[in-house]
């Protein structure tokens, strides 16, 4: 990590808006981002029960074009993009030749010859280089992050809020689908995606309209009780929903099998980067597996804390925090594959003290249908 003094942090087009709102700002992946406005718990509850607005313009966008676009996407990622329809998106992994994660991402199919990948802020430059280095398909690759701002409108009242500003019929955009339309008169990609476990949308648009769209959305969401939400709530929401975060549950040492992401790893489309290693790991077995746990007392098993099984260190917590909606302390951790049974009691070593915990099923939270 670069020190803040040495490197200027990158800013989204909404930086001054966040500061005016009094947000607590943090360095996230080299970006100066809002951690919280009114407080993580209040923001988390707003998204679970009403609506929240997030500036996620730090997220990277890469676009792949040309006759070789699908072949390139298929080679570098583990989900099967050949199954996507135009206007559909899916969650996937950008793979190393070792079958581990360069990044996780959303793949949007614009056309047979045009895909948009939404990737993590801190990885976008590495992702771009990795895809370029593996482009034997003569596809055109654009690092188009600077051309997009992105806002996430999330929560049970997100749809009604966004609908006030767009003629596009949002009910016709199904989960993990998208459409192009106007929001407040601004051209947007309107995707029914999110990272909170709630229904909602992520909209992509030219950065010069950021302040207008933020202001119009805040006003449209007022009657629904929508509030601005920062990366703190984004993290507690995604963890409650059992979603992985790059650098925590997944990185370039973890495979999709270990991370419980077999559902995005489609071996039937092999070969792709790392597919030989992944096939082999499926045969020989996993060294570790990701599980969810809940603490059995009031303590909190946090990121990096050792997991004890039978009194011995057997793994590490990847993410752990209080779950504001579920009102208990939860986390995810890697444990040996023979210790993953739901109900199994484990311990988390918290500053040298063993605190009791229990393995529970993922996701911790599932929204009511």
């Amino acid at each position: 990590m670069n020190t803040p003094a040495a490197v200027e942090l990158r800013k989204t087009a909404l930086n001054s808006v966040h500061r005016r709102l009094g947000a607590k700002m943090v360095n996230f992946g080299g970006w100066d981002m809002p951690l919280e406005y009114s407080g993580i718990i209040a923001e988390h509850q707003a998204v679970r029960t009403r609506a929240g607005l997030f500036d996620v313009s730090h997220m990277g966008e890469l676009e792949i074009r040309g006759p070789g676009a699908l072949a390139l996407v298929q080679w570098v990622s583990c989900n099967n993009a050949a199954k996507l329809n135009v206007g559909q998106a899916h969650y996937s992994g950008l793979m190393t030749s070792r079958g581990t994660f360069v990044d996780d991402l959303l793949v949007h199919k614009f056309s047979d010859t045009h895909y948009l990948l939404c990737v993590n802020a801190g990885n976008q430059d590495d992702d771009f280089r990795h895809i370029v280095a593996n482009n034997q398909f003569d596809a055109e690759i654009e690092n188009s992050g600077p051309r997009y701002s992105q806002l996430a409108i999330q929560g049970p009242r997100a749809t009604e809020t966004l609908q006030k500003l767009t003629p596009s019929p949002l009910d016709s955009i199904r989960y993990y689908h998208f459409a192009f339309g106007k929001v407040s008169g601004v051209d947007c990609l309107i995707a029914r995606t999110g990272y909170t476990g709630e229904d909602g949308f992520e909209i992509y648009f030219a950065p010069e309209y950021s302040e207008k769209l933020w202001a119009d959305l805040m006003q449209a969401g007022e009657s629904a009780g929508m509030i601005p939400c920062g990366l703190g709530a984004r993290n507690t929401l995604r963890l409650e929903a059992g979603m992985c975060l790059y650098g925590h549950e997944i990185d370039d040492t973890t495979t999709p099998w270990e991370a419980g992401l077999a559902w995005i790893c489609k071996m039937e489309k092999a070969p792709f980067l790392g597919s030989d290693v992944l096939a082999q790991q499926k045969q020989t077995g996993l060294p570790r597996k990701l599980v969810g746990f809940e603490m059995l007392d009031k303590r909190i098993g946090r990121d990096g804390y050792p997991v004890l099984i039978g009194g011995h260190e057997a793994g590490r917590v990847t993410s752990g925090c209080p779950a504001p909606f579920l009102k208990k302390n939860i986390g995810m951790a890697y444990v040996p594959p023979n210790s993953t049974a739901v109900g199994k009691e484990i311990e988390i070593s918290i500053r040298g003290q063993a605190a009791p915990a229990r393995i529970i099923a993922l996701p911790f939270y599932k929204r009511p249908q």
């Binding site: 993580i40 718990i41 993290n235 507690t236 009031k298 909190i300 925090c321």
Partner: protein, 132 residues
């Protein structure tokens, strides 16, 4: 904002001294930095604590923060309010949400701590560094 009869540390604890008893808590600046407090881990009554050493921890949603004792002494009381309502630290850090009471080993130790004016000057410097 910062009571004039308290003394303060650079780690953002306060102490209020009455006779040979010191009441210790964290400052409003500290609670703002932490965000929503969800758990407080305090020492047992009778524990002997050295000045500058950890007396326990305060956890917010996002982080755990060690709390350092401003002075040396023996714990005589811990705040029962914080067992079920740790979030009181966010709303009343200087009064009802105190952490522990100590029987001071040496009341003269307090003289080495900042007064309210010095502490306010110190945190305004901290805030400048943050926004730089």
């Amino acid at each position: 904002m910062y009571p004039a009869d308290y003394r303060y540390t650079k780690q953002h604890e306060w102490i209020k001294v009455q006779g040979d008893t010191g009441t210790i808590g964290i400052t409003d600046y500290a609670q703002q930095e932490l965000g929503d407090v969800v758990f407080v881990d305090l020492p047992k009554v009778g524990a002997k604590i050295s000045g500058g050493k950890s007396l326990g921890s305060v956890e917010s949603v996002k982080a755990v923060s060690e709390i350092y004792s401003p002075v040396s002494g023996e714990v005589t009381e811990t705040n029962p309010l914080l067992v079920d309502a740790p979030e009181k630290i966010n709303t009343d850090p200087h009064n009802t949400a105190w952490l522990i009471k100590l029987k001071l080993a040496d009341p003269k130790e307090v003289a080495g701590l900042m007064d309210a004016a010095a502490y306010e000057a110190y945190i305004s410097e901290q805030a400048k560094e943050h926004s730089a």
